[in-house]
């Protein structure tokens, strides 16, 4: 068990290093970051001054190590646009994204798991068909468009919710519903197929044969094994929700990380963009690593594999 955890942590560490190198390298995609910061119409002297001030004249590897080294101490550099530490700006914005991501995730889970179980109990029954329609439409509707339509209908026509911003908790209602609808189909499907597989196993049939009530069989015997694949998927989905909220935040004018990243891109504030990409990637790595270890705890068969 310890060996498995250690192995997973080593892989996670290597992924973190690679991911940090990629987010660092993005800055140089445009060619010369100094010119990108100075702007297309910037003078050559300005670009040169920026190059020296930001240390772009040093070798790449030195710049990278310097960036990673200070990131480890919590210093993510200075914002070029605001001229204050990146960590400060991100600290102000991260809570909106976290709330949005976590609430949508919980809502998706609360809808997807019971629906998946109910659908699995009677494949092709009416609940299964409703669930299928929900899943198929959820995968086809672009979340930003659903958000805009929801604003038109519930914000403008009915006036039930504020049309933008998150000054009150009501401002979170539509974004959370829209975002969870995007994450729900995959979780529902995996619960359904996991449940169908488990219900067909001998041990479930034995439990039913000895006369246990269906409720006990489902919740005590079947569900435990059926949710195993859900654990990994849930971690992936939560990570996707956090990074997927970039579009939703811009639709609903929520001041989270995603909107910050987008605005920073438009004003070439690259240190902020880099830091956000790094944070979201590291969060994803942490979540999936945690899910893998949790899976190994829940299911001893997995420990030998991989």
């Amino acid at each position: 068990m310890l060996a498995f955890i250690a192995k997973r942590l080593v892989v996670a560490f290597c992924v973190c290093v690679t991911v940090s190198a990629i987010s660092f390298a993005l800055m140089f995609l445009s060619g010369d970051p100094a010119i990108a910061i100075a702007g297309a119409g910037g003078r050559a002297q300005d670009a040169e001054a920026i190059r020296i001030a930001y240390g772009f004249d040093r070798p790449l590897i030195v710049q990278y190590l310097d960036w990673v080294g200070s990131a480890l101490t919590g210093d993510l550099g200075q914002s070029i646009y605001f001229n204050i530490p990146v960590s400060e700006i991100i600290g102000n914005r991260i809570s909106v994204t976290m709330w949005l991501g976590v609430l949508s995730f919980l809502l998706a889970l609360v809808v997807a798991v019971p629906l998946g179980i109910a659908a699995a109990l009677r494949p092709n029954g009416w609940i299964d068909r409703i669930a299928l329609v929900l899943a198929v439409t959820g995968q086809a509707i672009p979340s930003f468009w659903l958000g805009l339509m929801a604003i038109v209908v519930f914000g403008v026509w009915y006036g039930w919710v504020p049309i933008s911003g998150a000054k009150t908790w009501q401002g979170f209602i539509l974004p959370v519903i829209v975002l969870s609808y995007y994450a729900m189909p995959a979780m529902m499907r995996i619960t359904r197929s996991g449940m169908i597989d488990v219900l067909a196993t001998d041990y479930v049939r034995a439990a039913r044969a000895k006369g246990l009530p269906m409720r006990v069989v489902i919740f005590r015997h079947a569900l435990r094994n059926a949710v195993l694949p859900l654990v990994s998927l849930a971690a992936v989905q939560l990570g996707l929700l956090l990074s997927g909220s970039i579009v939703i935040e811009s639709v609903f004018a929520l001041n989270g990380l995603g909107r910050l990243a987008w605005e920073s891109l438009l004003r070439s504030d690259l240190p902020v963009v880099q830091a956000i990409i790094l944070i979201l990637s590291l969060l994803y790595v942490a979540l999936t690593t945690f899910a893998d270890i949790l899976n190994a705890v829940l299911d001893p068969r997995l420990r030998g594999a991989n």
């Binding site: 993005l26 995609l29 468009w145 990409i277 990637s281």
Partner: protein, 290 residues
């Protein structure tokens, strides 16, 4: 579902496909949209880029104020909306196709190599897949397009370089299971070259699985292109992309919601059709599951 004992021999994939509701409905809608995109110059009543500021924001045909000349009305610059919708199909499908060619080539090659050789090759490629999965795709794509300069070519290259993971995962698993089959071992025994075994023997044997990934990824790419264009960092104006049209219609959302409702519905219809087709194909070709 419809398998009965009266069936004597298993039907071919295409026969099964025609009988599958998802595949036939999704396939038909897809075919119609592809035809619309291909014959856009013949079908579009107007030039999608021609502006007429005297005819701004005309409503579609179900409104009283509508004009017969512009069936779906006009946008904020007086451009014919129907023509823009028709040309928009070209952008969605073109980007979808372009990205799939790039990402499919990368992903399938990596998957074949990882699955066939195993060992450290597999370790390196699996690590690349894990790393790719941990990057926030929308954000990285946005950053890359913003820095590389928004254009169709940049967009297709960036998405192609980012979305190869599912191809790699599926072809790796398929290669792993095919590698130990007798006909492959036989080919190895008679000294067939590795390239021949990989690309002429293993690859054709997983084409149905690849087809499923292609459809799922096309749907994914179409949604991503729309989202990036919506955020202003995908297709550049005045190109008629459905995502861009939604973003342009946003300013007039209060009084003319059809400006976003129409391109959004087109997007949904196309993605829905592709997904129905893909899911149906998976049911037909995949391992038996009810």
């Amino acid at each position: 579902m419809s398998d009965t004992s009266s069936e004597i021999r298993p039907a071919g994939v295409w026969q099964k496909a025609l009988r599958n509701t998802g595949v036939s409905i999704g396939g038909t809608i897809m075919l119609v949209i592809v035809l619309v995109a291909v014959f856009a110059p013949l079908l579009a009543p107007h030039d999608p880029l021609a502006q007429d500021l005297t005819k701004r924001l005309l409503p579609p045909f179900w409104h009283d104020r509508s004009v017969a000349e512009h069936l779906l009305g006009t946008d904020h610059l007086g451009r014919d909306y129907l023509s823009r919708m028709i040309y928009g199909a070209r952008v969605s499908l073109g980007v979808g196709l372009g990205v799939i060619i790039v990402s499919g080539a990368i992903g399938i090659t990596l998957g074949l190599l990882a699955g066939y050789f195993g060992g450290w090759v597999d370790m390196v490629i699996s690590f690349a897949i894990t790393t790719r999965l941990s990057l926030p795709i929308v954000l990285v794509a946005l950053a890359a397009v913003a820095l590389g300069g928004a254009s169709l070519v940049t967009l297709i290259t960036v998405l192609g370089l980012l979305l190869w993971d599912r191809f790699a995962v599926v072809s790796r698993a398929a290669t792993q299971s095919l590698r130990h089959q007798e006909f492959i071992m036989g080919l190895r025994a008679i000294g067939a070259s590795r390239a021949r075994i990989l690309f002429l023997e293993i690859l054709p044997n997983m084409r149905s699985m690849i087809l499923v990934v292609v459809t799922l990824e096309v749907a994914n790419v179409i949604l991503l292109e729309a989202a990036l264009s919506f955020l202003g960092l995908g297709v550049r104006p005045p190109t008629p992309s459905w995502g861009l049209m939604i973003s342009e219609g946003r300013e007039n959302i209060l009084f003319d919601p059809w400006l976003i409702a129409l391109p959004g519905s087109a997007l949904c219809l196309l993605v829905l059709a592709v997904n129905l087709f893909g899911d149906g194909m998976r049911d037909i070709t995949g391992p038996a599951r009810k």
